[in-house]
């Protein structure tokens, strides 16, 4: 390709960072080597966290590739596990080709806080981690320790301590030759890949600013039942507690922040922001905010404006926009400016939720395991940095966040009393918060 524009020092630095950041997902991969019988070697999978997304991830994984077999399930709650097994039966009714791929024995279904350990003691080769985010860092560490390949839903942590743990697990996975793919599915979406590749190639010149949004209405909430302890009520309503979800900026808006980091080929170095809780003030909604607006700054001085909201009856927008010296792009379908481009809306496009599993399985079979651990850990910390800028009201830097003592997830969890932390108050809330002082 002929150079489209002069690459100045700043741009080159970014391109190099981008190359490092994306090296781990250099696709497409060669086709999987066939075994003697013609079919590739069977990969056994297990699900930890049996909600609707986890069950959906099982279907995505089973349909993504040949010779995949589901062998075990684990969840905290018996009712979640039972519903998942019913759903698997429905799945087979809808698609009988899945029947031979679902081989879960009663003895391989586990419930309770230690269900994940029992699943990991089994013979699965690949585990899908789809619990609420609070549990991810610990489950990942145990899975890598047990020698399992991992697919994990985003976000991968709720606090800096969890991010450190995920980065360590990611390095260990690389050393052990284990694959690690995250549920930031835009990284596996053909439209996003095409647009971001063009942005990296200079199609909009130097990226000097960006905007990302996840503005929508409120989500589900489960009214408390009398039999639920504080802890059970919180975990069943995990969206609304920072220790469980990371707040909606981390839980949901991470998708858009991840695209920004991908396009910039870097993570931001600091953030300032505002946020609060205006509409969803009932204690049934825990203590999280319902809106944030944050400005992030990247190493080259480029700024990213981020906005996310979960409020009923308000304007909706989910997406990204990149502004370069020679054009603009929405990051997935359109480039306007010096080198215009658009994704053909009639072009066939693989479902990214399936493609992420196809890429994962192909990488395992090719002996070149994908490792998205660091990338998703950085995007998770980016979202946490935005949350903390709004919670504390301070300018929060990346380094400060990485070195602060913030651990929000209790070490030993059990059903019982658990006070709800106060709603964060800018000017008073501090970074160094611990579940121990709750």
């Amino acid at each position: 390709m002929t150079p489209k524009h002069p690459r100045d020092v700043t741009r080159r630095a970014f391109v190099e960072t981008a190359a490092v950041a994306t090296a781990a997902i250099a696709l497409p991969l060669p086709p999987a080597p066939a075994s003697i019988g013609g079919a590739p070697k069977k990969i056994r999978i297990a699900l930890i966290g049996c909600g609707g997304r986890g069950t959906g991830a099982v279907k995505d994984c089973l349909t993504s590739s040949e010779s995949i077999e589901l062998v075990a399930l684990g969840d905290l709650f018996p009712d979640h596990l039972a519903k998942c097994r019913e759903s698997l039966a429905t799945m087979v009714t809808e698609d009988p080709t899945l029947k031979p791929k679902i081989k879960v024995k009663d003895s391989q279904c586990f419930v309770g806080f230690d269900a994940y350990r029992k699943v990991l003691d089994g013979n699965a080769d690949l585990v899908l981690l789809a619990t609420p985010p609070a549990f991810r860092a610990r489950h990942l560490a145990a899975a890598i320790e047990a020698g399992k390949h991992v697919f994990m839903e985003k976000p991968v942590a709720v606090d800096p301590q969890g991010v450190h743990a995920v980065m360590a697990s990611s390095e260990l996975a690389a050393q052990k030759g284990l694959a690690l793919v995250a549920g930031t599915q835009r990284r596996h979406d053909a439209g996003y890949r095409a647009a971001i590749e063009r942005i990296h190639d200079g199609a909009i010149g130097d990226v000097v600013a960006a905007e990302v949004y996840w503005n929508q209405g409120g989500l589900w909430m489960k009214p408390r039942e009398p039999s639920w302890s504080d802890a059970e009520w919180q975990i069943r309503n995990w969206l609304y507690f920072t220790w469980l979800s990371g707040d909606h900026m981390v839980e949901q808006h991470i998708h858009n922040l991840d695209v920004a980091n991908w396009a910039f080929g870097a993570h931001p170095v600091k953030a300032i922001g505002v946020g609060g809780r205006q509409q969803r003030t009932d204690p049934a909604y825990g203590h999280i905010f319902d809106h944030f607006a944050v400005e992030f700054e990247y190493p080259n001085g480029a700024r990213l404006r981020s906005m996310c909201r979960q409020m009923d009856g308000t304007a909706q927008r989910v997406g990204e926009r990149f502004v370069g010296t020679r054009g603009t792009s929405d990051g997935h379908s359109v480039i306007e400016g010096a080198t215009p481009w658009s994704w053909d809306p009639q072009a066939p496009k693989a479902n990214p939720y399936v493609q992420e599993h196809a890429d994962l399985i192909a990488s395992i079979r090719a002996g070149r395991p994908l490792n998205e651990g660091r990338q998703v850990a950085e995007s998770t910390l980016t979202a946490i940095m935005g949350r903390e800028a709004a919670y504390t009201g301070q300018e929060v830097t990346w380094d400060e966040l990485l070195s602060c003592q913030q651990d929000l997830v209790p070490t030993e969890l059990q059903f019982g009393p658990m006070p709800v932390p106060p709603v964060a108050m800018p000017g008073q809330t501090i970074l160094a918060r611990s579940w121990r002082s709750a």
């Binding site: 069950t55 799945m91 996840w214 009214p223 009932d282 009923d312 009856g313 989910v318």
Partner: protein, 272 residues
């Protein structure tokens, strides 16, 4: 959130609507969603016969007079149902209570896709959701709103187009948003010319759910996403797995179609 609702509570009840008849003549009719400021209009469709395709060949069906929505159902109307905007926040049994049986799940992301919201057609709802909306609206208003039957929708279209139902490119452009003029998005309802009945967007914009006796529901009329040749009186499509492929949950949503931002609906009323 509060403005619409607060005003609505101050101003309720809405004045009684004209009841669709004047001196024995069927006339346009306006109704409202109780406890809100949201109104909508219906136009009368004279009775007649239509010829429908069927496996046994063309079938002539007699259609008694009815009223049909002047436009596709808008987000202004649909949001009231989805977000319980007709229920005061904090009221006993109010907005925060569980009411999973009669209201849809909260949509994940932006269901309007960024196409536009106020005055734009609600979209990407399942047939189940479109029917449930009609049932809810009927319960709220005390009048029997329903999805059109295939025959009613066809009758409304033919009455609106007049004797000549052929579509020149110019006529199609004047009446319908399709892939050739819509710039990959839905548009505000009634921003294309009305037909002779006074309805807008029966063709194009969003394809519209109708009921089919003894058969799977279909959408009629074609949409902004389809090429001009597939937007017309005979346009008819049944749901395919592609319409909901990227819903990442299992079971997939009963209420929302992750990949069908080209589907909407309007309703009919037999007796105002």
């Amino acid at each position: 959130m509060g403005t619409n609702l607060t005003l609505a509570l101050l101003l309720a009840p809405w004045p009684s609507p004209a009841r669709g008849q004047a001196a024995g003549r069927l006339v346009p009719y306006r109704d409202s969603i109780p406890k809100t400021l949201v109104t909508f209009e219906l136009v009368p469709v004279p009775g007649g016969t239509v010829t429908l395709d069927s496996p046994a060949g063309p079938r002539v069906v007699a259609v008694p007079p009815f009223w049909i929505g002047k436009t596709e159902v808008t987000w202004d109307e649909y949001d009231v149902w989805v977000y319980r905007l007709d229920v005061a926040a904090g009221a006993p049994g109010g907005r925060d209570s569980a009411d999973a049986t009669s209201r849809p799940s909260r949509p994940y992301g932006a269901p309007d896709r960024g196409f536009g919201h106020h005055g734009y057609p609600a979209l990407a709802m399942t047939y189940t959701a479109a029917r449930a909306y009609c049932a809810w609206l009927s319960a709220r208003t005390g009048r029997h709103y329903a999805l059109p039957t295939d025959a009613q929708w066809t009758r409304a279209l033919e009455a609106g187009l007049g004797a000549d139902t052929s579509l020149s490119p110019e006529r199609r452009d004047a009446l319908a948003w399709h892939a050739g003029n819509a710039a990959h998005k839905s548009h505000a309802v009634a921003s294309k010319q009305a037909d002779a009945l006074g309805t807008h967007d029966l063709l194009g914009n969003v394809a519209e759910w109708v009921t089919v006796p003894d058969g799977a529901p279909v959408v009629r009329g074609g949409s902004w996403a389809e090429p001009p040749a597939r937007v017309g009186p005979r346009a008819r499509a049944a749901q395919t797995p592609a319409w909901n492929e990227t819903d990442p949950q299992f079971p997939k949503s009963r209420w929302w179609l992750a990949d069908a931002p080209f589907v909407g609906f309007r309703f009919v009323l037999l007796t105002p």
